[in-house]
Symmetry: C2
């Protein structure tokens, strides 16, 4: 790889997500050379992907060019690269565009969808972890409605208009709410010649409550909001298989649907050459100590979703969410400079700032450390926080304009099939 040698130590960061970017910002203007690699040339604001899928936002407004984030940082280089392997013996990163030696390595490659080994579900279901995936889902939803118009077979039409979301975490809940609002507000106007009341939205959760990890009140309220919107909430049900048409579960329950959205789990986006933590239930993450050092190494770190940092409050590792990623990135920035200077590093402590989820218009649940609230005010807090964490003034303005418009007009205008998904990928029944 064409990277100039400098007298500064070289830090290679793999991944431009929340963790990698917050680390990079901390390392700006320091006496280090930083090479950030990502397979995309943009940072994705994942919490709003579901709005891209449901036509509420354009993809460009929740993504930000990584080069632009780094442009004022001296000694920073970006490379668009797929990392294939880490050679820990020679301190090298091997990628599709060549290899690169590092003095320090930070793995911030994030997470990927966890299908728990089910190949059929992986093949036929839709994931929503990246912008292309979110756009594929947007296309498929709209294509299904166009196809529903064409058939006179009632079963087939219902199959096309049913949506099954697996996973009752924030992603699943927010998507279910958005689909329910589309069903109510947009479909009847867009498809006057289709009985869109038949469209069904199901959310299936394997445990006893939605939004596990949030308060009982938030969970109950979210469920009530969803049911008010007409979403069918199935708890204590585990989806076991899907053939592209029929969803089977461990209960006496099946669904006929052309669209299964899999939001039931994530796991670390592992890279060859580093062993995943061998502890059970850690989801392919790298076990790190309180300095984010990967077990067995002083100069290789993991942060964000890829890091499994066990604490007293979180015996199976900190949650795979934006907050730990951002906080670890920032702290590691300080710690790496200390390490290079030969000073003692400061152990990471996680400040739990709470969690939130929106269910729809005027409906959200927010758990802060001191306050818990639900409803309209929570919804405004949710919007404010998401606008605040979005990178870039233009993105904030465009998202804000869209939200105001969507709110005032009860609308979502980005319902465009820019690249058709179905004809290429879905099996015919």
């Amino acid at each position: 790889m064409n990277i100039p040698q400098t007298s500064f130590p070289r830090i290679v960061i793999i991944g431009g997500g929340f963790a990698g970017i917050s680390l990079a910002k901390k390392l700006s203007k320091q006496e280090v050379q930083v090479v950030l690699m990502d397979k995309h040339n943009y940072h994705t604001f994942q919490p709003l992907l579901y709005q891209v899928s449901t036509g509420g936002l354009e993809p460009d407004s929740i993504a930000y060019p990584i080069r632009k984030i780094l442009k004022d940082f001296p000694n920073f280089l970006f490379r668009l690269a797929h990392v294939k392997e880490i050679d820990t013996l020679n301190n090298k990163v091997l990628t599709d565009i060549g290899s690169l030696k590092f003095d320090y390595l930070v793995v911030a490659s994030g997470s990927t969808t966890n299908y728990f080994g089910n190949k059929a579900i992986k093949k036929y279901s839709m994931a929503m972890k990246t912008i292309p995936q979110a756009l594929n889902l947007r296309s498929l939803i709209l294509e299904n409605f166009e196809d529903a118009l064409l058939t006179s077979d009632l079963n087939e039409r219902n199959t096309l208009m049913n949506f099954v979301i697996v996973g009752g975490g924030p992603t699943g809940v927010e998507l279910a709410g958005a689909l329910a609002e589309i069903k109510k507000g947009i479909l009847p106007k867009d498809y006057p010649d289709l009985d869109t009341r038949m469209a069904q939205i199901h959310i299936v959760q394997s445990s006893a409550c939605l939004l596990k990890g949030m308060s009982a009140k938030a969970s109950e309220k979210a469920e009530a909001f969803l049911e008010n919107l007409g979403v069918n909430v199935w708890k204590n049900v585990r989806v076991t298989d899907y053939d592209g048409k029929t969803v089977t579960t461990n209960a006496d329950l099946t669904f006929e649907t052309a669209t299964l959205i899999w939001a039931a789990g994530v796991k670390g986006a592992t890279i060859k050459g580093l062993h995943a933590a061998e502890l059970i239930n850690k989801g392919d993450r790298l076990l790190v100590n309180e300095f984010n050092q990967v077990t067995g190494f002083n100069h290789i770190f993991a942060i964000g979703d890829m890091a499994c940092m066990v604490t007293e409050a979180f015996p199976s590792g900190l949650p795979m969410m934006a907050q730990p990623a951002i906080q670890q990135g920032e702290q590691l920035g300080d710690n790496m400079l200390k390490l290079i200077e030969g000073e003692a590093m400061v152990p990471f402590t996680y400040k739990d700032k709470g969690a939130m989820a929106t269910i729809g218009r005027n409906k959200a649940v927010v758990d802060l450390s001191r306050f818990r609230f639900q409803g309209v005010f929570a919804w405004f807090v949710w919007m404010f926080v998401h606008l605040f964490f979005l990178i870039g003034f233009r993105n904030r303005m465009v998202v804000f304009v869209n939200w105001v418009y969507n709110y005032v007009r009860f609308d979502r205008e980005a319902r465009l099939i820019i690249r058709p998904y179905k004809k290429k990928h879905k099996p015919k029944f």
Copy 2:
């Protein structure tokens, strides 16, 4: 096709571009059943495609869902369909989703890129007539710069950083200006480790001036603006071939480039079953009379780019631009109602409202019927007119926010490679 029979005559419109949409609006709330078919579910505002290609705008803000345009019109149906053939004997449209009988048919299928029979150019060059094409070009431009970083071969690097635009019409001129501004304002910041001064932008025009059809003053000024921005303008040169790397011309001139953008011509998007006008130089369009009736038919019409309407001022047919399309659509709406009522139709007369093109920041040329001007004021007029003709309040707001931001910040933030183009499509040399 699942279309209910009513007592109203059925008008089938093929195409939801400027022509089809303005006709549809005229036919709303009338005693006719209208079925509009398009292969996309959205209307594209083509004049701003070049801004999508160059990262200035998101695609969703220059597209508008067709169903939403039609939603308040009774007796209107939309079908997402590829029209395969027109059966004029049985008055049927044959599509990929079935066939449909019509009482009246309006062909408004627009135009497609004209490669004048050169298969190599068709294979290796980039077109910019649709949103997916514009996004492919955006990806390729950015991928080329990422690749330029990786090679130490100076020739290869220059090939990757050279851009050749064929065609000096508004599309070519506007794209050349936008690329020049990216070269000047964004590349040096985004690629500090690349000598982006080596990037070259060429525009090649086969005739003696740019913006043929506009005034001599506009043409000269556009050329001066481009040259000021560092664009190489080649006139009286015809590109004859391209193998993915080397562009050959009819002059003693070749270019080495990984990116040839073909904006040198369009032709009608013909449909099997209707004969194209047999006149020469009409570009596969359907010859129509002053009522937009296709030669030989009373009940089959063509409007917009597909229609070749010969007038005294335009002996080879009205220009293939937005204005004739919109005007023909509106007039045909009135005329069809007259025809159905048995009244006499009114011949179409083209009101030439002028033409305009923007070259870059504060630089545009405008020819109105009474006034001609160039420079800053022209640029503001250009922006105002384009905002005005864009469909939808949200789109206008989002485009406006982007333009203000881009202007104030000298920036274009949508430089995202959402779907890589190069690895899939470009040959390796």
